[in-house]
Assembly symmetry: C2
C-alpha cells in the first residue's frame, strides 16, 4: 500500500477529484482519500511518481508518506 500526503483539498468534490485521478494511474487497484487527514492510500502496483503527478495535475500538492 502506498500512502500520500495530499495538500489543498477543501471539500468532498476535491476528495472525489483526487480519488478519480489516482484510480486512472496504471496499476492502481484501489484508492481511498481522507479530507480530514489530508491523505490518500493506494493499493496496487503503481509508481509513486505517477501518483504524485496525477494528484498535482488536479491542482493539489502531493508527497510520499512513510
Amino acid at each position: 500500500m502506498l500512502k500520500l500526503k495530499v495538500e489543498g483539498m477543501s471539500c468532498n468534490h476535491c476528495v472525489m477529484a483526487v480519488k478519480k485521478a489516482l484510480l486512472k494511474v496504471p496499476g492502481v487497484e484501489r484508492a481511498e482519500v481522507s479530507l480530514e487527514k489530508g491523505e490518500a492510500w493506494v493499493e496496487g502496483k503503481a509508481e509513486v511518481e505517477a501518483l504524485i503527478r496525477a494528484v498535482e495535475e488536479e491542482g493539489y500538492k502531493a508527497s510520499p508518506l512513510a
Copy 2:
C-alpha cells in the same frame, strides 16, 4: 437578475456544482457564481425559492440578496 448569497463554497468544484444546480432550475437562462464573493447571479424567470432549494440540495446555504 436574481442575486443570491451562497455560503459554504470552498473551491472551484463547489462553484461548478452550484452553477450546474442553478442552470437546472426551470426558467434559468444564465448563472454565474463567485467563490470570492460567495454570491450567485441568475438571469431568467426562475423562482427564488427554487433557486435556493437547488443550491441547498447541493449542500450549501443560500439566501436572497437585495
